[in-house]
Amino acid sequence: MTAVAPPRGTRTERKPSPTRGRAPLALWAIGLVAVVPAFAPIAYLLWSVVRAGVTDTSGITVGRLLELLTSTAILVVAVTITTAVLGTATAWLTTRTDLRGRRMWSTLVTLPLVIPSYVGALAMLGTSGNSGLMTEALRAIGLPGLPVFSGFWAAWAALSLWNFSYVHLLSVPAIRRMDPALEEAARGLGSSRWRTVRTVVLPQLRPALLSGSLLVALYVLSDFGAVSLLRYETFTRAIYAQFRGRLDITPALFLSGFLVVVALILVWAEQKSRGRANLAARRPTRPAPTLRLRSAARLLAYGFLSSIVVGALVLPMLTLTWWTVRGLSLGSTVNSVVPELIRSVSVSGVAAVVTVLAAIPLAILTVRHAGRPTRLLESITWSAYSLPHLAVGLGFLVLALRFVPPLYQTVLLLIIAYVAMFLPQALTSAQIGLGQIGTSIEEASRGLGSGALATLRRVTLPLLWPSLLAGAALVFLTVMKELPATLLLRPTGFETLAVRIWSASSELFYTQASVAALVLVAVSAVPLYFLVARDLHD
């Protein structure tokens, strides 16, 4: 055979023996850089708790801590139980009974998700009290008006109404997955209807219910806008008050760290429960028979579903519209929200693009080189997303003040925080997209002479494009309605739509707040709902 010059071989060290999934160092470097912003503030908060525990508690007494813990826990438990009952009931009624328009009802009970909880709280304030919508309506028929909704019951109602849809969404597929043969087997073995529900149906629902409940518990723990506007003292409200009221930031920092520890427990439990929920997934051989409701039960069911939709969707939207129309017709000076809208759109747009760019290398690492180290990387990116954003925001603020002062009160810091907090949204989208592009397609490209980068450019990215776009849209719309971190990190005078709603509500300018809220719901929450709705329904 004629002598052939050997092709240039890539020389690498032999040991340890390379595994199939070993990622290039450059990819790891980029991935680590992308993850640092998610990791740093939380690490700093945890450290502040440890330090305070050793030396002093920064002026927060144990009594005060217990007081906050109790009031927060009561709200978390009350809302979690309420949403579990409401969500399971709506899910059951819209999947397993013969109610008319079940699909429509199922959509209607998830639509409250278009209302961020602080907008919901604004609507509750705007409907009650001396000049509220319901008060006016009641007075018109000669009844006394309503007192201002505030305190525990108001916060409980708001967080239940605007969170139960999550339980509904998790329960519907779980109920659909239930194999009717199991129920029939139980009945055939002589089990009564009620005993069958208790011993066969509920155990099948438990993983979804647990998962949904922990999710809601985490949201309640993290909620800042609703509890603050409705004046119920929880950790987040106390943290913000500490932060605003004093020059010394340490007490707020300590409380935030403590909140993060509590939230971490919930996050851990939620992730564990989700794994179980997947294990329980099974495919029924045929759809379950629908339960035929008798006329009284049917009436009750329609009444129940209607009052939920009215309370969570119709009344708040009506209230916001009423305040807007009344304010304008009475000639109250309403500032244009166009500058706020432009600020919201541009800062969210930049955050969305940067987040997607950061998500690409992370998605490749976690999907194509899956292993223990990449799983760790992934959990870190989730932490900033899952933990209370008020605490994460405070972590960013203090880190900037202590280590990079020029970043303090800049839009850049705000965008870094957004990217860190919402990276998982873009990452998940990219991961799913990448998972659908088989590895053999990339190998085919390599085999046809394209290197790793050329393959990324010619094959992977063109195929990944729709997923990246969806991820960007998700981040864009979510950033737009983010409140607590924006409040903490924005430069002075940098008012976004969310900030405008918050400040106008706090100062009782309900018309001004309602205008901004309606714009926000229209440009952010509604598109977000329809973007996610594709995955939510069937």
Partner: protein, 339 residues
């Protein structure tokens, strides 16, 4: 080369482990240039791993691999897959869904020669009129041929095909298999197939390497492999076979079913393939029909000999045998193994 062959692929002492599982264990493999070679083995025998190592999608833990006389992987060298000039046809075809047929076929070809090569290869596989279709608009058989054209277009020295027919339905499979083999022969390319289907391996290949537990246990021409398997496992994997004990002496082995020539001495095992067995109805025959499976084009008849041993015979659809019929058995060909 001294033996008159050029080796397109040469693998020596190649090992690959995934955790505790040994996928390849000291694999040696020669593929002659211009041949169609098939790696045949049960699932888990390491055949796909071997293919991926040759293509460069994975690295061996030990051993060396040469492609076209050039070392592409050993202890120090690892040539990236894009620099190996090895074409691959994937089990799921792995067509680029965002590119047309022409875009797929031209993917690996330089810009200047792209139009010419795309036209040539699409002609070769007979898909010229489908050049502007997208992969999802093609039938399974057409996708298969696009995948083949795409692998052929850059004129690789070797083409690797990983279970290429497993996604086709049975009726289509035989036809596409013949077409692909014809295309590969007319292109003069060296090809390595991977399959677990012995019929596919025997009918399309010049050479078959039987793999088991990460090793090549026997490599030979299909007919040699079928009639001269190296051991009972290979014999059984390639087709139905019955085994008998026998005593060999001075070039002959005596068994319950007759006397056959052999080179061995002493205790031996004798393999009989069902198609070497003839049955004739006979009232005073030495065997009784036990079972009959009728397939239409042939039938498989199981008979019991006087001493209780069973033997299978593959015959044409006639004559008609019933369980209980007395028959005489004659065997026209047998292979002996050391016991």
């Amino acid at each position: 080369m001294s033996n008159g062959y050029t080796l397109a692929i040469r693998a020596r002492q190649v090992s690959r482990r995934f955790g505790d599982a040994v996928a390849l264990d000291d694999l040696n493999l020669d593929v002659h240039a211009g041949h169609i070679m098939t790696l045949l083995g049960p699932s888990g025998s390491g055949k796909t791993t071997a293919l991926r190592l040759v293509a460069g999608f994975d690295r061996p833990d030990q051993g060396s691999i040469e492609v076209g006389g050039v070392t592409v992987a050993d202890d120090d060298i690892f040539v990236a897959p894009e620099k190996r000039k090895v074409g691959m046809v994937f089990q799921d075809y792995a067509l680029f869904p965002h590119l047309t047929v022409a875009g797929n076929v031209g993917y690996g070809v330089s810009r200047e020669s792209r139009p010419r090569r795309v036209a040539e290869t699409l002609d070769l596989v007979g898909l010229g009129e489908l050049r502007d279709r997208l992969p999802h608009e093609l039938s399974g058989g057409e996708q298969q041929r696009v995948a083949l054209a795409r692998a052929l277009a850059p004129e690789p020295s070797v083409i690797l095909l990983d279970e290429p027919f497993s996604n086709l339905d049975a009726a289509l499979r035989t036809r596409v298999r013949t077409e692909v083999a014809d295309i590969l022969r007319s292109a003069g390319t060296t090809a390595v197939f991977v399959t677990h289907d012995q019929e596919e391996a025997l009918s399309t290949s010049d050479f078959v390497a039987v793999m088991r537990n990460g090793r090549v246990v026997q490599a030979a021409r299909p007919s040699d492999l079928y009639h001269q398997p190296i051991d009972e496992w290979v014999a059984g994997f390639l087709g139905d076979a019955d085994f008998f004990a026998g005593e060999a002496a001075s070039g002959k082995v005596t068994t319950a079913i007759g006397v056959f020539p052999t080179d061995l001495e002493g205790s031996v095992r004798v393999m009989v393939r069902p198609e070497s067995v003839l049955l004739a109805p006979s009232d005073n025959g030495g065997a009784v029909v036990r079972q009959r499976q009728f397939f239409g084009h042939d039938q498989l008849v199981t008979v019991a000999l006087k001493n209780g041993l069973q033997l299978r015979a593959r015959l044409g659809p006639t004559p008609y045998f019933e369980p209980g019929d007395a028959v005489t058995v004659s065997v026209d060909r047998a292979t002996t193994f050391p016991a």
